[in-house]
Symmetry: C2
Subunit: 517 residues, 2 copies
């Protein structure tokens, strides 16, 4: 569906780029489904009446409390021009104003990948899984926890590229702290383009870095194509409570003006950055997200946006963030509904955990965000794989373990096959009481694809498992990563494009200082 | 609610047992909620039209294929008398006959515990969590995998008694293989009564053992009380496909005739014991469960029953059972709906896994049955904690880790508090942009109970965790179990009852042989 649309659109608008497109499609990787398509119902916990209460409270927050737009006079000017009540940096929105502007945003859009088969549909019944974002540390294959490097960054991109459970290359999959801050984004964007052909995210740590991202994307996709289509999705975090800062606003304006998608994400540790309750956190999240979405629409009507929510709760005993707990799952479920009522795509967190190693805690907690997010109908899941230690660490082992879980989700959201073959009445008639189904013709015809099977779980007997060295889950994951990195082959990239990207990167590297200060 | 009902009913029917009841209520344990009460909507994947297709197929199986009732002439006689078409041991049911008999079963019932505060409501919006059932092995605190003993059995009962996440003492929480098979059940039933005051399950490995269970329950509750009330729930597994054997039928008849609940549970490894498809497995499960429920109603109209389903899928590559995969989650979700349409309570599996140790695989897989079961509205969850290695092993560590997860489920199914306090608008007004909520009066008033917090997860920083020995999840669980077993105090039991139970047990021990052969 999206593939056809993409090809057609490109053919029409891109003009004379057939050779390039062919090069993009190469790579030798077995293709997997580019994103989930949900056929099962949504799991909706918040009632319509409940949603109306929350929405009313969000309007009250926008009107009475207001939102700070910090250190960005241009943003304040734009807001004032569009009907907001600006007092200093505090912006009050008349009831209904934000919701009115949110209506200008598309309910669903395509993010194009350089390989058109990997373009993703964001919104509607679709779910896109992207890897962990942001950690300064990695836990490496020697099980050492250390600062991340650009080599780690490239490794994670290669793994995300190879993992069928992940649909997206992500963004700051780890922070390559061995590179100077002002130049880092250039290597990051280049690496996403070079080592993967899945869609990727842009830099947001400065407006100029967002601009560099856009320029490099123009080289890859062509300026005309970028002008008409969405090829980037970037993460704009609110500085909750009720604050947008100039860094994020600067990046937002660059992306929105180029028609590139931004996900407006209140980042909330409930109890500290929002009230110590689900309904209070929901109202605040909605107010923050709406103010960001409305602002993006004021900057450029129709710019693609995503309603983001990252919610964790705080241990009120110790002040530590907690993950995989029920209250954030309720926030997530409620936000998904609020986003649907706003008619914009929704983004959540994914396999979140506070654990330090890939132990039982890591898996329990991760699943307890992942599964509620999927049944809530999330459209874009960031941190779907590899997140550890409350976001401080990108973990090689956990990336592949989480991605293995992700790979079963299409089966879950695909629902129950009620075709005649699915009903299998012939098999039951043929087999009868007390017999086994292994030899039935239905089993023979269906066994290969019948049941999802993990790539990493061990299903052998205790005796076999013992005789093979009693290898636990984390070690199996480590072995898998080592093998994958050996097997990795880069997807083909048009040498002309590659050279142009390298030239741009080199030029900017020379222009930029080695330090921000 | 149920507590009041229970007390009232007992006062009326039990007669003159106040002293005994007081003794039952003792024990010094902090009371936790006796079962989950769901306030959130169900997650329903199977459509009404889909359910009709499955129901129609189940009727076809019952009518055309038939169900074997093996080696039990009395059962065949009962079935014939009630309108079934009996040919040898194969029983064909005219369309609609089973469903008609299923209507005689109660949609919800109480299972009384010796401590009335721990009685459980089975059916409706309620969920009861019971521990693992059946494993011959344990993995002990020295991390040794070995045959289970009666000491392990007692330890697991003590732990289940102390764990707030578990509502039920369960049944064969592990198989005490150090005791002779014919006598084992007497020690097991006595241990449930002696070491816990939560409700428990009866023996089903022979009709005579079911009878012993009933006799001991009569000593505990009084014969009159047992005659009028349900104090036992017992597991009757179908020998799938489409077979009930004489052992299970024998136990079923004893319990049903005494008005004690039976859960009729097709035990299905899909691909081997049912078709290699979800819809086929659903139809077969429904046919088997309906035949068992109908038979129980023919034995005693109105006898409490539970529609059980244990579904796993087979790795079609190796023949090994797999757990935590999507297809059994879909079967479980569909069965829950089919049970609701049959208007009887539903039972599922719980924290199922094929893992050998409490690693990430164990936790991923367990959560992937637990959470779908809870959102599907399961009424009785067996194997909710402690299950390992596909049911071969009861694991001390996993019992407490799973139970920790269970303890958050009431928060999840309790839904979103939309009261004024829950909305927390005052906190948002008071705090405002850029400030934190820690000091707000709303936070002060609510922080203690605001967010669920794990007893076993580690939320500390990497530095603190490292300085405290880098203790992983499984080791923390081990430490917790050791501490709990030290702290355990038995709930008070009326000495008169205790003596009578010991006397019955001793008499039967003398009567019974040491070997079945």
């Amino acid at each position: 569906m999206s593939e056809d649309a993409s090809t057609e659109k490109r053919g029409r608008k891109g003009g004379g780029r057939d050779a390039r497109r062919t090069a993009r499609s190469g790579g030798g990787m077995k293709m997997s489904a580019p994103y989930l398509i949900r056929k099962v119902p949504l799991y909706d916990i918040l009632s319509d009446e409940g949603a109306e209460i929350i929405e009313n409270n969000a309007e009250t927050i926008l009107e009475e409390v207001g939102i700070e737009f910090k250190d960005d006079p241009e943003a304040l000017e734009i807001l004032k021009e569009h009907g907001a009540d600006v007092k200093g940096q505090r912006v009050h929105f008349p009831r209904g104003l934000c919701r009115e502007y949110c209506k200008k945003a598309p309910s669903q859009f395509t993010q194009y990948a350089r390989n058109p088969d990997r373009s993703v549909e964001i919104g509607g019944n679709n779910t896109v899984f992207a890897p962990v974002y942001g950690p300064p540390f990695v836990r490496d294959l020697e099980n050492e926890r250390r600062y991340a490097t650009i080599e780690d960054f490239r490794n994670f991109i290669k793994l995300a590229y190879m993992l069928p459970g992940l649909h997206h290359s992500g963004g700051t999959i780890c922070e390559p702290v061995d590179l100077p801050v002002p130049k880092r984004h250039l290597e990051m964007v280049y690496s996403h383009i070079k080592y993967s052909d899945k869609p990727f995210m842009g830099s947001v740590t400065a407006a100029s870095r967002a601009q560099d991202t856009v320029e490099m994307a123009k080289i890859l996709f062509g300026a005309d194509f970028l002008d008409q289509n969405n090829v980037l999705v970037s993460l704009i975090n609110a500085n909750s409570p009720m604050t947008w800062d100039d860094t994020m606003l600067g990046a937002l304006k660059i992306y929105a003006r180029h028609g590139q998608a931004v996900m407006l994400s209140p980042f909330i540790l409930a109890g500290a950055m929002s009230p110590v309750s689900v309904a209070g956190t929901l109202a605040q999240t909605l107010a923050e997200a709406m103010s960001g979405i409305a602002f993006a629409q004021m900057v450029k009507p129709g710019a693609p946006v995503i309603f983001g929510s990252f919610a964790s709760s705080m241990s009120m005993q110790t002040g530590a963030p907690t993950f995989g707990t029920p209250e954030p799952a309720l926030v997530l479920n409620g936000c998904a509904k609020l986003a649907r009522r706003l008619n914009v795509p929704f983004r959540s967190g994914g396999s979140l955990t506070a654990a330090k190693t890939v132990d039982a805690q890591a898996a329990y907690e991760s699943t307890y965000t992942l599964l509620p997010a999927v049944t809530s109908g999330v459209n874009f899941m960031l941190h779907a794989a590899g997140w550890m230690e409350g976001g401080l660490v990108s973990d090689y082992r956990k990336l592949v373990l989480d991605a293995d879980q992700l790979s079963m989700m299409q089966r879950m959201v695909g629902g129950i096959d009620l075709s005649e073959n699915g009903q299998a009445m012939d098999a039951i008639r043929e087999t009868g009481p007390g017999q086994h189904f292994l030899g039935s013709s239905h089993t023979q015809a269906n066994f290969e694809d019948a049941f999802w099977r993990s790539e990493l779980a061990d299903y052998t007997t205790f005796e076999q498992w013992s005789s093979e060295g009693s290898i636990e889950s984390a070690k199996r994951a480590e072995n898998r990563v080592r093998k994958m990195l050996t097997q990795y082959e880069a997807p083909a990239l048009d040498p002309v494009i590659d050279e142009a990207l390298i030239a741009y990167k080199s030029k900017r590297m020379e222009e930029l200082p080695d330090s921000e200060f």
